[in-house]
Symmetry: C2
Subunit: 274 residues, 2 copies
């Protein structure tokens, strides 16, 4: 069961001249709804607005999306996907002088995978490398062929995620998640810096804040995969799954660590407080 709207009208169709299709000219958000409440909605709207601004969309588009979302008939546990494109365009790459953005919303049921949250998942390091592109780094834009190509590297349903490296070999993210781990030597949680590529996840930024509030040192930096081989408490996160421990990465095994469990319990409490 899913429900869909385009610019406030119930439909699942868009025009083939839309720049979202032709060029991937837009951004998207995926928001978890728990007990009828969209989780971290202000943060999602803020990232959406930031992405639209970086792409040069008019200011009012993010507010229109906020209005759309406020009118959604949400209930229970759902997933909301929002796609915002630069709308229909004339032929050619030049953005239209007057942008009439397309706002696409899909609401679907959400089944939380509690087993993966508890027991953890298997991941692999992808061969496909993320190109360095500071101009589009951090944005959750619609040009996602890099992720498609990386995800196409495996069919094994037992593997839940692929760790992506950048063109220089530094760890960036998972195909659909951000990554954190604990470096026992330095006594700090580490996560990749996303200044040259990667998607700056809402859950990632939230967890950085949580770690700081818990007085756990967290460092964004450039890390080679060898760092992960010495790490504990490796986990992946995004707004939909929450936080999944990674218990196997290629040939290396990890125990589910105390920081992982602490963050999971905090995320759980935050839901209860809603």
């Amino acid at each position: 069961m899913q429900a869909t709207w385009v610019n406030g009208t119930a439909t699942d169709q868009i025009n083939i001249a839309d720049r979202g299709l032709g060029y991937g000219d837009g951004v998207f958000e995926t928001i978890a709804v728990i007990g009828g409440y969209p989780q971290r909605l202000p943060q999602h709207l803020s990232r959406l607005a930031y992405g639209l601004a970086r792409l040069g969309f008019p200011d009012q588009v993010a507010s229109q999306v906020e209005l759309d979302l406020a009118q959604l008939p949400l209930c229970g546990d759902q997933t909301v996907k929002v796609i915002v494109t630069r709308g229909k365009g004339l032929r050619g790459y030049a953005p239209p002088q007057t942008v009439s953005a397309t706002r696409i919303i899909t609401v679907a049921e959400r089944a939380l995978n509690t087993e993966k949250m508890e027991k953890g998942v298997v991941a692999r390091v992808c061969d496909y490398r993320l190109p360095l592109n500071p101009a589009l780094a951090q944005l959750k834009h619609l040009n996602r062929l890099d992720q498609v190509m990386a995800r196409a590297e495996w069919q094994d349903p037992n593997i839940s995620e692929g760790v992506m490296l950048d063109a220089e070999g530094f760890v960036v993210e998972g195909t659909m998640s951000n990554l954190f781990w604990y470096d026992p030597e330095k006594g700090e949680v580490q996560t990749p810096l996303l200044d040259r590529c990667g998607v700056k996840g809402v859950m990632r930024d939230h967890l950085i804040g949580v770690l700081k509030r818990e007085n756990i040192s967290v460092v964004e930096g450039r890390f080679l995969p060898s760092v992960l081989m010495q790490a504990n408490d490796l986990f992946m996160c995004n707004s939909l799954i929450g936080l999944w421990p990674i218990v196997t990465l290629d040939n290396k095994h990890y125990d589910v660590g105390p920081i992982t469990r602490l963050l999971q319990s905090i995320l759980q409490r935050e839901i209860d407080c809603e």
Copy 2:
């Protein structure tokens, strides 16, 4: 006036769950039709098949597009745009096990800009840099935010094209065209190598072949913008415009050169022969 088909059915709508919209998971072609004849159709179909294969689409998709195109009611001077996507997908980047591709065709009228062909155009060097991404280089895929961002740098209608450099500062292409020029010192035509980024245009490859047949030396390589400042006969090309001389690039002026005129006359003869 334009006519549109999706998977052989006359419509201008696609489903919002299409991976072309969500991820830019697909490729496209733009084909010039002159006097009812699609120009260089085998080359376009061949590039389409190559791009689909690189993205891991099933073999038969390119043949389905060939059938679609054979049934089009073409007449006069038109532009055919073909978009092929990996179709509707489940949520997530993993390509579906069984791909049901979406084939989108738009036929529109084509107005040839003979003034730009004759008198040449003004271009500028873009600030936006193309990221190095060998895994997707050469493909005319649907992830075109780089071109959108570069094209958004200017609104001046007197500027027809932007020259794009890669992350290391080498010349790659125009936002919508490939580039050639003559190096008088080396006595050769030069065009950027597209092994790390850029779109390998059908017209580009055709012109390389024409130059070779005319015994004019043509070299693909890495060239800095300074090379263009010493060049003659700078021109841009693509399947729709044919070949436009560039007479101004930022502050540098060029005469329309003899190689440009030779190639234009050969392209003109090829049309007449159809």
